[in-house]
């Protein structure tokens, strides 16, 4: 491949390689994917670090994300402004965490943030209900939703405060062998 690309400086690419789980090739490929979302907004020259943010509507229309019921939460968690408008850095960060090589604790941290709809660092009953409805297309009855939320709290809430903290969540994830393979987007 060589150093024939002129989008990033060598230091920038090295920095990206150190900060994400991607190789040079993959970073460039992801850059082109990012650019394809809005070619007129994203410049081909990132050496001056332009401040370009793509709005959430474009991010949410990516084929990998457009059918995911949690796409809005994913974009909100990984964007700096919390509204879903992502710069290239956020974009790379997102796919790095969702890639195969990210360790379980990192993924668990971000999964916790995704399921925490009201951003209060706890997963409370209303967060759980929203998660359930997204998972089952709101086809569970009210009673069933309530029962499932109760069961989840029973199983996972270790400190008995009626909501799940990050430790509770991580403790539960430890016992899920397929978490790593489900919390994974291939791009």
């Amino acid at each position: 491949m060589g150093n024939k690309q002129s989008i990033f400086t060598a230091q920038q690419l090295d920095a990206y390689q150190d900060c994400t789980y991607f190789t040079r090739k993959e970073i460039l490929r992801l850059f082109y994917r990012y650019r394809d979302l809005a070619p007129q907004l994203v410049p081909l020259d990132y050496t001056k670090q332009p401040d370009v943010k793509l709005p959430y509507e474009l991010i949410g229309s990516m084929p990998e994300l457009k059918d995911n019921p949690f796409r809005q939460r994913i974009a909100e968690v990984f964007s700096e402004d919390g509204e879903g408008n992502m710069s290239l850095d956020d974009f790379l960060d997102m796919f790095s965490v969702l890639s195969e090589m990210a360790p379980r604790d990192l993924k668990a941290y971000y999964a916790f943030k995704i399921y925490d709809f009201n951003n209060d660092d706890f997963i409370c009953k209303s967060d759980l209900e929203k998660t359930l409805n997204k998972l089952t297309r709101s086809e569970l009855t009210e009673d069933e939703v309530k029962m499932v939320c109760e069961k989840v709290m029973d199983e996972a809430d270790l400190d008995n405060d009626g909501r799940l903290s990050l430790e509770d969540f991580q403790h539960m994830i430890v016992r899920a062998p397929d978490f790593l393979s489900t919390f994974h987007i291939r791009i």
């Binding site: 969702l98 069933e144 199983e155 400190d159 990050l166 790593l180």
Partner: protein
């Protein structure tokens, strides 16, 4: 505020190992467990020296934490990177070199892992199957791949030690033992290829039934002679090789199964019993983020809905069962007992059917010729397959009456199918034994002369091998026939003819449990027949490869993605347990054939011994004296009793360790609960004091 600090604490203590998180791969589970084990032991403590938004640079081991696993925005990571670069390097040149080499080594390991994955047999196909159809179907194909490799390696074993030496030494060797028994001459007559004109289609019939030109060939036991080759330093006795290869083959298969079971069990134990965190597991780890496309997403959502509803239904049933009156309970239990007796009756009817079919077919085999002979040859296989198909169908209908909870229904159906398959194979073998040894009575008229039923079975081992060969072949033919005649037409009918019936029936769903039982059954047949038909593992390898591609084609063309899921972690363990049961059945047959039944006098490498095992003592005496004494010592009490006590000691130690780990996990969990309660109390105190 406290929650933010909590996050900082707990995060800094959760270590990781670089490159450890390859998903879905059993090998990486060990590394993952290592990392989680460390995090359990490192109890989070409050570190008041934390700076703004940053965790301490070094973790417990003094190595700088990798930036990529830091859960912060990219801008913060880049800033840290810059600050690290500017920092004066504290490490000496040697340390830096070591770290550089470590990084290169890790990159090499990653590359090697990628290549290995690429080279693994059918790796990509299995991934595709897992992605489209879920873990349950993928575990079936993983199991099939394991069996293919097992059979192929066993074939290499057999080829290396029995078939090739037989081939090479056939002309060169001398007869190992000469007949010094006053056996009747008539017992040693064995003519597999009677002289006379052979009709052209006979070759095809012979291929299907293992008789004729196939009978006296490397396929079957009867072809091997008790040749022995002796040189200055090298001697090779075919009978001994045959026996030891068969025994080693069984031991090797056992070791493979147990090793694989160990890794599957480790997963099951590490997750601490899947029922304990059922709901939270489904809710938080059920969604597959890699799901693409609208239909796949809807399907996955339906899947999750179904799973949750099934679990809720079980809860309801449990509550309902607990609230029944005594009379109702009595009624339900007596109904279940009745159904159980009915199922038992059905099974016994099937077994009698197999018994009579086998007896009839064995009687008719010697008298008919041509296509009719073929029909009689395959009669037992047909009856077994029909029984294995019909009886579970009826049992499914009966299960609807029994009204067990859904998970218990599945387990009961599986157990019934397993018992049916193994016992039907057992009945077939029993019938054969019955015919060969005249119901075990040596003094019976037919068996008195030679020790076995000479008239019908001049070479009974070959006959048993032929039966196993026919069972294997028939199984493959039935699978292909089902594929062509049932599954493809069903898909075409459902797709092109829209009516109520076709909507009701719908496309096929790939049923994992019955397919796995079919595989276990074929493998048991192969194990039973391996002693009598050394090429059977090779035939089975080819058969399983064909089966893999057939099932793959039918999966992608005809089947719809499963709506009901099968928990893949416990099910891999379950498959191996059932396989082990099959192994035990086959080993009983092996031990019996080696130790008890008299080998045929007319064919095979053991024709001059009373039983197959007696070649071992005879050859033992030709070894040098020192080796003989050593081997005798190994078998004597002075060695076995200490060995036995040592192994029981090790077993008790491991059991104690296991229970200690369980206890410590429980203690730690309680400690966690206690700590969080302390935290809440302290927070409340701080709140009160600050007012």
């Amino acid at each position: 505020m406290t929650s933010f600090l909590n996050r900082q604490d707990s995060y800094q203590e959760y270590d990781y190992f670089p490159g450890d998180a390859y998903p879905g791969d059993h090998h990486s589970l060990r590394l993952r467990r290592l990392s989680s084990g460390r995090s359990i032991h490192n109890i989070p403590h409050y570190n008041p020296s934390l700076s703004d938004g940053g965790d301490s640079e070094d973790d417990n081991q003094g190595q700088p934490r990798e930036l990529r696993s830091l859960p912060r925005h990219m801008a913060i990571k880049k800033a840290k990177l810059k600050s690290r670069g500017i920092q004066v390097p504290v490490l000496s040149k040697a340390e830096m070199w070591k770290q550089d080499k470590l990084k290169k080594l890790q990159k090499l390991q990653n590359k090697a892992r990628e290549i290995l994955f690429f080279l693994a047999l059918w790796g990509k196909t299995l991934q595709k199957i897992g992605g489209n159809f879920g873990g349950g179907v993928q575990s079936y194909f993983l199991f099939l791949r394991f069996l293919v490799i097992l059979n192929f390696v066993s074939f290499l074993l057999m080829a290396g030690f029995v078939i090739i030496p037989s081939l090479v030494f056939r002309q060169v060797g001398v007869s190992f033992m000469n007949s010094n028994s006053t056996g009747e001459e008539i017992c040693t007559v064995y003519e597999p290829n009677p002289p006379g004109l052979v009709v052209f289609y006979d070759y095809f019939l012979n291929l299907l039934s293992g008789t004729g030109f196939m009978e006296y060939s490397f396929m079957f036991y009867g072809y091997y002679n008790n040749t022995m080759v002796e040189d200055r330093n090298f001697s090779y006795k075919i009978p001994l090789a045959y026996l030891f290869t068969a025994i080693f083959y069984f031991a090797f298969c056992l070791i493979c199964i147990v090793t694989r079971m160990g890794s599957a069990a480790r997963v099951a134990v590490a997750t601490g019993g899947s029922t304990a965190v059922n709901y939270s597991m489904i809710v938080f780890t059920g969604w597959d983020y890699g799901c693409l496309g609208d239909t796949a997403t809807k399907l996955k959502q339906k899947n999750l809905l179904y799973r949750l509803q099934v679990d809720l239904e079980e809860e309801r049933l449990k509550k309902h069962a607990a609230s029944l009156t005594l009379l109702q309970k009595f009624g339900l239990h007596s109904l279940r007992l009745l159904m159980f007796l009915l199922v038992l009756g059905l099974n016994i009817a099937a077994f009698f059917g197999i018994f009579y079919a086998t007896r009839y077919s064995q009687a008719q085999q010697n008298q008919s010729a041509g296509i009719q002979a073929l029909f009689y040859e395959y009669l037992p296989s047909v009856v077994i397959s029909a029984g294995n198909f019909l009886v579970p169908l009826l049992c499914d209908q009966i299960a609807k009456v029994e009204r067990y909870s859904p998970s218990i229904t599945v387990i009961v159906a599986l157990l019934r199918a397993v018992v049916l398959r193994f016992v039907s194979l057992g009945v077939l073998l029993f019938t054969l034994w019955d015919q060969i040894t005249c119901k075990g009575k040596i003094n019976d008229l037919k068996c008195m002369l030679c020790g076995y039923n000479y008239e019908s079975y001049p070479c009974w081992e070959t006959r048993v091998g032929q039966e196993m060969y026919k069972l294997t072949l028939f199984d493959l033919l039935i699978n292909i026939a089902l594929l062509v005649l049932v599954e493809f037409p069903r898909r075409m009918v459902v797709d092109n003819w829209s009516s109520k019936i076709s909507q009701l029936v719908g496309r096929q769903e790939f049923v994992v449990s019955s397919s796995v039982l079919g595989l276990v059954y074929s493998q048991t047949v192969v194990w039973t027949g391996a002693l009598f038909c050394p090429l059977l593992p090779l035939i089975n390898t080819v058969k399983f490869v064909i089966l893999f591609y057939c099932k793959k084609i039918t999966l992608f063309s005809n089947c719809r993605p499963p709506q009901k899921t099968f928990r893949s972690t416990t099910s891999a363990f379950f498959f191996l347990v059932v396989l082990l049961l099959g192994w035990m059945l086959a080993s009983v047959v092996l031990i019996y054939s080696i130790a008890v039944i008299r080998p045929s006098l007319g064919c095979g490498p053991f024709r001059f011994s009373d039983n197959m095992w007696s070649v071992v003592p005879k050859s033992l005496y030709s070894l040098p004296l020192v080796t003989q004494e050593f081997l005798f010592f190994l078998g004597s009490q002075a060695f076995t009793i200490p060995l036995f006590s040592l192994s029981s000691l090790v077993m008790f130690y491991v059991i104690a360790l296991f229970s200690i780990y369980g206890k410590s996990v429980r203690l730690l969990r309680q400690q966690l609960k206690g700590e969080s309660r302390d935290k809440q109390f302290l927070v409340k105190q701080i709140g009160e004091l600050s007012q």
